[in-house]
Amino acid sequence: MGFFDKLKAGLEKTRKSFTEKIEQLVIGYATIEDELLDDLEAVLLSADVGVPTTTKLMTEIRSGIKSKQINSPDDLKPFLQEKINTMLLSKHYAEATQYAPPVVMLIVGVNGVGKTTTIGKLANYYHEAGKRVLIAAADTFRAAAIDQLEIWGQRTGSEIIKHAEGSDPAAVAFDAVQAAKARKVDIVIIDTAGRLHTKANLMEELKKINRVIAKEVPAAPHETLLILDATTGQNAINQAKLFGEAVALTGVVLTKLDGTAKGGVVIAINNELSLPVKWIGVGEGVNDLRPFDAAEFAAALFADK
């Protein structure tokens, strides 16, 4: 399977519920009626595209009808595809510049979204690219979180820095960054405990980890990735906003896209946040992580069977 096919397979559920629904819809109507537009809106909303982004797309469609760009139901899908394409591709994010090693990555997110698993996958990705990877078990809160990361370390041939359960996560991060410098490691990936974005004290803890790292390595963390579960609905936007207030996020990893039919949240994230989706998770295996490419995503979303 080529890369595009793999991506398509991962997005199969989303594509099915999205494109196929639109196609079926269009067949059912001879002319453009209010009811058709309502149904189209329903498809968008039920794919977790969200109210603000859906409203924006529907406004564009309505003005497309007025300006005669859309003349029949058949015009709807290509028009929408183009608008979503523009939405996904309009923002350009600066390429991550090459930093002197160690490059420090901080992984944050709410409970159970897939932080630790994603770290395993990222470690594998960089390991295969010939990098020396060190992972830091700074989730000292959840029972056996350290053991879980350790298993991923073994699976991917990464070094690990860990302290006892219940110890200060900032101290783990500090040790990890120091060790990385001493051992000439290329990439440090720091796992953190899941936390709800509404808990002020836990957000302070993240800031502290951030400060400690920055003291050791200037400009670090170079990458702060927010892990979002694709099954999450509109709360994903809240998560991104509040985590972003605590630490400077550089991107999003969207996990569990293999399970949900609602990948529409990718469009919402692109439209409502100034944050690039950098990776997507499409399974629990070590290889189930893909760099996110907006153009490919858009193409896969609207691909024919």
Binding site: K13, A42, L45, S46, A47, D48, G50, V51, V110, N111, G112, V113, G114, F141, R142, A143, A144, A145, D147, Q148, E150, I151, W152, E165, L196, H197, T198, K199, A200, D229, T231, T232, G233, Q234, N235, A236, I237, N238, K241, K256, D258, G259, T260, A261, K262, V265, E284
Partner: protein, 446 residues
């Protein structure tokens, strides 16, 4: 603002319409559009929203609302009632088997919170005098078994493990073990899985056939989006669920997923996870969830409480006084006492929409001690002083402080507060003159 509450939006919508006099059907239709959007923003399933809005419309177009002076409140009330109905009204418990052990199986998607919930549930049941055994049947996720073992140690509850053995086998042996150890509850933690993964769903079916659980509970993350309904339906079709446990409700998820699952599958929500601590599992209250989805806190139960605690006549009398501007410290005292009847102040604030989320209010402890001080201070004043605080000079202040067991600063602060309250009431009164009169007002909060 992340989410504007539906209640606020409706108020605004109707305020815009006020100038027109009576409401027309199209005014209501306009408001219902807002209702629809707000429900969708709260992740209520699309189909559920459609049905719900149709029902609400039927009721809202009735005479009652159109002729009401406070149509917004009326519509909100209807929406809230319909939501509560959908949530299933009453609280629902787990069934305890007549012949122990009661076998409970937890299932769900990856990352929903099953393992932690297993610990919390075991803890809850232990506190009710039960003797649970936890079973580590998640043999896939790295260190999942270890996680349950650690929880068992913390809670002093035994954990049955058989390494990475076959989960069906593990479940069977665990129940045998429970019988031998005379444990009366068995809680099986299973691996997270996608509802579309046939192999793994078959594994759950086999466990079910083998140990015949009395309760199969689906653990659902409160933040789940539109897919929640599909997930619950598949699990229910494959396994025949007995109920739902909702997790991560301590965040700001509006929880529309929960409502949708209940509406579509009819399954009751039995517990809600309210925090990371192992004692943070609570019985679920459908009505509170309804208000939460509306983004209006628990304002309705607050109003109910107020209505039962404060007599209408008293409130009207107070309003009259306000209008005549002869509001005294006596009245102030009476108001405080009335509000206190509603319960602890911090709880009351928690019931108000948006209050819980306000950053400034976090950690602010409106403790009753301060209120008690205020009462003591006013009680130490003569009736003349209460009517005309202007006479309270330095020596009187000292006397009052002494009499009430407070400090002069406390007396000063109270007098200042009273002065400000009076000013504010005057302003509000002026505002009310231009607006419509409402028939019931809470003292203090208007």
């Amino acid at each position: 603002m992340v989410f504007e509450s539906l209640a606020d939006k409706l108020q605004q919508t109707f305020k815009k319409l006020r100038g027109k006099g009576k409401l027309s059907e199209s005014d209501v239709a306009e408001a219902l559009k807002e209702v629809r959007m707000a429900l969708l923003e709260a992740d209520v399933n699309f189909k559920v929203v459609k049905d719900l809005v149709a029902k609400i419309k039927e009721r809202a177009i009735g005479q009652e609302v159109l002729e009401s002076l406070t149509p917004a409140q009326h519509v909100i009330k209807i929406v809230n009632e319909e939501l509560t109905n959908l949530m299933g009204g009453t609280q629902s418990r787990i069934a305890i088997a007549s012949r122990p052990p009661t076998v409970i199986m937890l299932v769900g998607l990856q990352g929903a919170g099953k393992t932690t919930t297993a610990g919390k549930l075991a803890h809850l049941l232990k506190r009710q005098g039960k003797q649970p055994l936890m079973v580590a049947a998640d043999v896939y996720r790295p260190a999942a078994i270890k996680q349950l073992e650690v929880l068992g140690e913390q809670l002093e509850i035994p954990v049955f493990t058989m390494g990475q053995d076959n989960p069906v086998n593990i479940a069977k042996k665990a129940v045998d073990q429970a019988l031998m150890m005379a444990r009366d509850i068995v809680i099986i933690d299973t691996a997270g899985r996608l509802h579309i993964n046939e192999d793994l769903m078959n594994e759950l079916k086999s466990i079910k056939q083998t140990v015949k659980p009395h309760e199969i509970l689906l653990v659902v993350d409160a933040m789940t989006g539109q897919d929640a309904v599909n997930v619950a339906e598949s699990f229910n079709n494959d396994l025949g669920l007995d109920g739902i446990i909702l997790t991560k409700l301590d965040g700001d998820a509006r929880g529309g997923a929960a409502l949708s699952i209940k509406a579509v599958t009819g399954l009751p929500i039995k517990f809600a996870g309210m925090g990371e601590k192992l004692d943070a599992l609570e019985a679920f209250h459908p009505d509170r969830m309804a208000s939460r989805i509306l983004g209006m806190g628990d304002v309705l139960s607050l109003i109910e409480k107020a209505e039962s605690a404060i007599s209408l006549e008293k409130a009207q009398e107070m309003q009259k006084k306000l209008r005549k501007e002869d509001f005294t410290l006596d009245d102030f005292l009476e108001q405080i006492e009335q509000v206190r009847k509603l319960g602890p102040l911090d709880q009351i604030l928690g019931m108000l929409p948006g209050m819980g989320k306000l950053k400034g209010l976090q950690g602010l402890d409106i403790d009753n001690k301060e209120v008690k001080h205020i009462i003591a201070i006013i009680r130490s004043m003569t009736s003349k002083e209460r009517r005309d605080p202007a006479v309270i000079n330095g020596s009187r202040r000292k006397r009052i402080a002494l009499g009430s067991g407070t400090r002069v600063q406390d007396v000063n602060r109270l007098l200042k507060q009273f002065g400000e309250a009076k000013k504010m009431m005057k302003r509000l009164k002026d505002m009310q003159k231009s607006g419509k009169k409402s028939n019931f007002k809470l003292p203090f909060m208007n």
